[in-house]
């Protein structure tokens, strides 16, 4: 889609920001393409918001360079950058009406009143809010305020739109709705969106690409599916919901790879795409929903099948969660569909668990 030599929309090179002694953002290098929906994902305090604020000009990096459309912007104040931010707390001006909020940036650009009126009407149409021009922010619902905040930034047609967990204040249903809206709007306007969130489902469903951050560092960058299926580290695996980790030695037998854990389990692992160093301990990540669970009196064990004992069972609504002990040491979390025969399995029962070797993922050491 993009010509290879195209200038990146936003480029970070070795960007570092310290607060006090600790590095909030630690030598982050990254390229974001034009028109991309890019997410920074990570737990609170991982540096994702600081990164966003540095792109927006609200913080200055201690070292490294930030480029927007090929121009170095390190020393430009926020009002001289072609970016706009949708803040987590929205920051709508309470003393101005919706129309005045939307016109704020346009007035500073000294646009004519007619242009301003047209653009405001147009943008209200885009975010599905016509007719609310003369309301004040506190007379709007949470979802409407959200849309106004988005519109106030979009109306300036910035090269890059920065969104700092803008949906975190909304309830779940509204958040889902707004996620779809954001995606639609982004496709319609074609602006680069950089989105910060701690909700991995949100990032996965919206982003073209995403970056996982931890302790100020980028851990993994890639398309959501790639990160979801091939997490590189235990942190990413855990963050993406692959809650089961096995550690052990990697062994090879007749062209097949196995992980031999300390407890003696021999787990069939997917054939590695890149050559693996077979010496030293390895980690295998496995999603709870990828595991099948059966009562012990079922069919004889097939490939990659293990005997275990149910320690705990809890109802999660859409699934049943089992905690199974394998070989007396390994704890495994299993999500079973609410209507499978797993519903008959009780605590303390002996069970069989198995999974498709391809659904597990070998991690690179952290």
């Amino acid at each position: 889609m993009n010509a290879p030599q195209e200038v990146p929309s936003v480029q970070l090179i070795d960007v570092t920001k310290r607060f006090g002694g600790a590095a909030a953002v630690d030598r982050v290098s990254l390229s974001i393409r034009k028109g991309e929906f890019f997410s920074f994902l990570g737990p609170s305090g991982c540096g994702k918001t600081t990164t966003l604020r540095m792109i927006g000009g609200l913080e200055t990096p201690d070292s490294g360079n930030i480029y927007i459309n090929g121009e170095r912007v390190n020393d430009l104040p926020p009002y001289e950058r072609d970016v706009s931010t949708v803040f987590q707390r929205l920051a709508l001006f309470p003393h101005l009406t919706v129309a005045e909020n939307l016109a704020f940036g346009l007035k500073i650009q000294r646009q004519s009143p007619r242009v301003i009126r047209d653009k405001v009407a147009q943008i209200l149409e885009l975010v599905h809010l016509p007719g609310l021009e003369n309301r004040y922010p506190d007379q709007l619902s949470g979802g409407q305020q959200q849309r106004v905040a988005l519109a106030r930034s979009l109306v300036l047609e910035p090269a890059v739109l920065l969104l700092d967990e803008p949906l975190s204040a909304l309830d779940r249903k509204l958040r889902k709705e707004m996620q779809i809206e954001l995606r639609r709007i982004q496709r319609e306007v074609g602006i680069t969106f950089i989105y910060v969130t701690h909700d991995q489902k949100e990032a996965i469903s919206m982003s073209d690409r995403m970056a996982i951050m931890k302790d100020g560092k980028l851990v993994q960058v890639g398309a959501p599916q790639e990160i979801f299926e091939r997490p590189r580290t235990a942190f990413v695996a855990d963050f993406m919901g692959a809650l089961n980790l096995f550690s052990g030695e990697l062994i090879e037998k007749r062209g097949r790879h196995y992980l031999k854990t300390k407890s003696g389990l021999v787990i069939h692992v997917p054939n590695p795409q890149e050559p693996l160093c077979t010496n030293g301990p390895q980690l295998l990540a496995l999603r709870p929903e990828a595991i099948e669970i059966y009562p012990k009196n079922q069919d004889p064990p097939r490939q990659n099948c293990f005997v275990g004992k149910v320690l705990n069972r809890s109802y999660l609504g859409e699934a049943l969660e089992f905690e199974v002990l394998l070989n007396g040491i390994e704890h495994v979390k299993v999500y079973a569909h609410g209507r499978s025969m797993a519903t008959r399995i009780a605590i303390d029962e002996e069970v069989l668990v198995r999974w498709d070797p391809e659904s597990a993922c070998l991690l690179h050491e952290e």
Partner: protein, 294 residues
Amino acid sequence: MNTTVPTATARRRSIEQGLSTLLRGLGRVSPPGLLGLIYLFIYAPLLILMLFSFNAQGNLAWWEGFSLRWYEELLSYEPLWKSLKISLIVTGVSVLISTVIGTLTAYALYRWRFWGKHLFESVLYLPMYIPEVVLGISLLVFFIFWKIPRGILTMILAHVAFTIPLVVLVVLARMQRIDWTLEEAAMDLGADELTTLRRVTLPLLFPGIMAAAFLAFPWSFNDFVITYFVTSPGNAPLPVLTYNLILGRKSGGMGMINALGTLMTVATLLMPLLAVLLLRARRFSLPGRRRSQS
């Protein structure tokens, strides 16, 4: 003797009971009535003064009939107008200055960290606790020491000094309720620092600044003790003129004082009313209230 003690106790108890029953009854029948009693207690002296300002004779002892005589005499009393002018100049200028300095001080205290900030802040509010007499004397000594002639200038300086803490307190209270992301948002939307101040910060602070000015105005206008120390005989603002009227035993002085007191009270009452009306205006409603909805 033995019998009188219980009787006295019983009597006292019955009086207490009667009183509490009365109060409770009153409170139950009409809480506003009870409240009204309290207000009567606070404001009765003022009401008497206002009432007797319309008395035909210049005394506070008995009612001689309704008349506007004292108001006529007061309004034709030459020194009154001079005093009013002095009062308005002193209060107007000092409130303006202290509002500006106080707002800037509050901004610095709220937004910046600097060495000695805590000490500065606690010392700042001292004038509110120091007895006025002490403050007045110290200002007087200060002016004499620097050989500044007493008059309008010294009054303005003194009034600025004791109204600043009030302004800082009120503006700070407002600042604590402002979402400062709004400043970032303004800059993000293209406003430079000055535009942000003009279009966002000041409008948001405006109610607080106005409230501070409206509170500082009567403080300054009505001040007698401090003013008395730093003024000169020829420059008596209204409170000092009132005092001089009492001292001077001018014929009809009491009646004029009643009339003057009434006018000053009414003017003072109008000030906060004006402030409330101003703050009620829709544009200045406080942010942050909306969040309580969700």
